[in-house]
Amino acid sequence: MPPTDNALILELKNIHAVYGKKIHALKGVNLKIHTGEIVALIGSNGAGKTTLLKTISGVLPAEQGDILFKGRAIQNIKPHEIACLGIAHVPEGRKIFPRLTVLENLEMGAFSRVDAGGIERDLRHAFELFPILKERRGQLGGTLSGGEQQMLAMARALMMKPELLMLDEPSMGLAPVITDKIFEIIAAINKEGKTVFLVEQNARRALSVASRAYVLETGQIVSEDNAQNLLNDPKVQEAYLGV
């Protein structure tokens, strides 16, 4: 059943983003995410996927266009304010805090929260989802393996108690088993009610977990459909699924 427009959690209208003055990385992106969905964004290297997430989270303010989160325009506010509104961005390359312990990394996720009881509960839940982090909680983030760092980055984002979780290439550089694990957890997080916006190069994996997807090419959305249709689309198969 297609979600109705009043369940819209994020809407991008004609978003343009530039680096410096010359590099026009996003050229009029329109995109909608409904509450409770997993939406995937696929595209090749340099298409602008990371840029799009940075624009949403305010790290790279949009040059033009509107970003509405639950109906509220957020394109002109600071990253930390956007985070506090309920958007968690797990950046490309995980970006955990290497010189903070695992526990301190998680505490930073909860930085702006004041509900001590809720933080405690979410921490316990994060350790349930990622038991390895509980074992390693006193260890410095920088000493974790790549897979553990990805888990830490996701757990840290969950500590923000976000409504929308944006993941930038969570499977990058991970062994297939770990990737399976990560995608299982993404599905589980979604079942718990979080909306997920998933950026992936691994298009097959992304489309298998997502309900809908967008294809980004050189800064523009070139197609948009439900995930099953895209999996069967010959153009997508050729360009992104290696068929």
Binding site: A83, L100, E104
Partner: protein, 298 residues
């Protein structure tokens, strides 16, 4: 004699450490050298003197000491915040040289402001707490030195606790690791940066008072030498590294006192050793003694 000199070195070093911490905290987050820090120290010394003259009982004493320190620390801390907001924040996205030049500008403005509007003379700085000599049998030490040393240690311990255990301290470390990602976590990085300047400034203010008590006088240009020496200490320990700043400060203090005491004509050359160390460290090990970052796995 040697033991006494060693203790003297630790006393002087403790002042350098306090100042060095300010350089290192700011560098840790913004990767910039706050060249105005030495002037924040100088202003702290003048505010401390003013507080003593205006507020403290003339006989001095412990209450007076705490009062003078608190007022100087508050003033220097706030000055740090103001400098960051006016001179560095607008240049955050600019090329790396820009805030450095701005810092030198602030430094010139502050020392000239004190020169013109406060005093261009050497002003005598009170000991605040009456001095005695304490004999430990094998060595004699002055109460002033003990006071400077332990005041510094207490401040360092408070800083250590704050950075390691409090929420704001952890946020400071997170920002030092990755400013952009800290913002994504909902941390207001501008607040954390301002807080860092507050802490660094406050430590410099305390150091200004202790330095004034140590030498017994202050002047508008007093910041330069301890500033450069503390900067050297920070580089020696590994700039950006908090423990390194403390270690570097103590090492430099000991080196200076020992060289002044044991080298022929050493005391005339004592201000030169810091520069020799600075050049040596930059040539041999620019990352300093403890300056090694844990590589982030990709």
């Amino acid at each position: 004699m040697f033991i006494e000199q060693l203790f003297n070195g630790l006393v002087l070093g403790s002042i350098y450490s306090l100042i060095a911490l300010g350089y290192t905290l700011v560098y840790g987050i913004l990767m910039m050298i706050n060249f105005a820090h030495s002037e924040v120290l100088m202003v702290g010394a003048f505010v401390g003197l003013a507080a003593y003259t205006l507020l403290a009982p003339p006989a001095g004493g412990w209450v007076a000491l705490v009062l003078v320190l608190l007022v100087a620390m508050t003033a220097s801390g706030l000055l740090g915040i103001v400098i960051e907001k006016l001179a560095y924040r607008p240049l955050r996205q600019a090329a790396r040289l820009a805030p450095l030049i701005s810092a030198i500008g602030v430094s010139i403005i502050l020392s000239n402001a004190v020169f013109l509007w406060v005093s261009n003379q050497l002003l005598s700085f009170p000991k605040v707490v009456p001095e005695q000599s304490i004999s430990l049998g094998f060595m004699k030490i002055g109460s002033l030195q003990i006071l400077i040393f332990f005041t510094s240690l207490i401040l360092m311990a408070v800083l250590h606790f704050m950075v390691q255990k409090t929420k704001m301290g952890k946020a400071m470390r997170a920002c030092a690791d990755d400013l952009t990602t800290s913002g994504l976590m909902g941390i207001d990085v501008n607040k954390v940066i301002a807080f860092t300047f507050l802490i660094g400034g406050a430590l410099a203010g305390a150091a200004g008072v202790l330095n004034g008590m140590y030498y017994g006088s202050i002047k508008y240009n007093l910041g330069f030498l301890p500033g450069v020496k503390a900067f050297t200490a920070a580089v020696l320990g590994g700039i950006g590294n908090i423990a390194g700043a403390v270690l570097g400060g103590f090492l430099l203090g000991i080196l200076e006192v020992m060289a002044a005491g044991y080298l022929p004509n050493g005391s005339q050359w004592k201000d030169v050793f810091a520069f020799v160390v600075l050049i040596g460290v930059l040539l041999i090990r620019p990352s300093g003694i403890l300056g090694e970052r844990i590589a982030e796995k990709i």
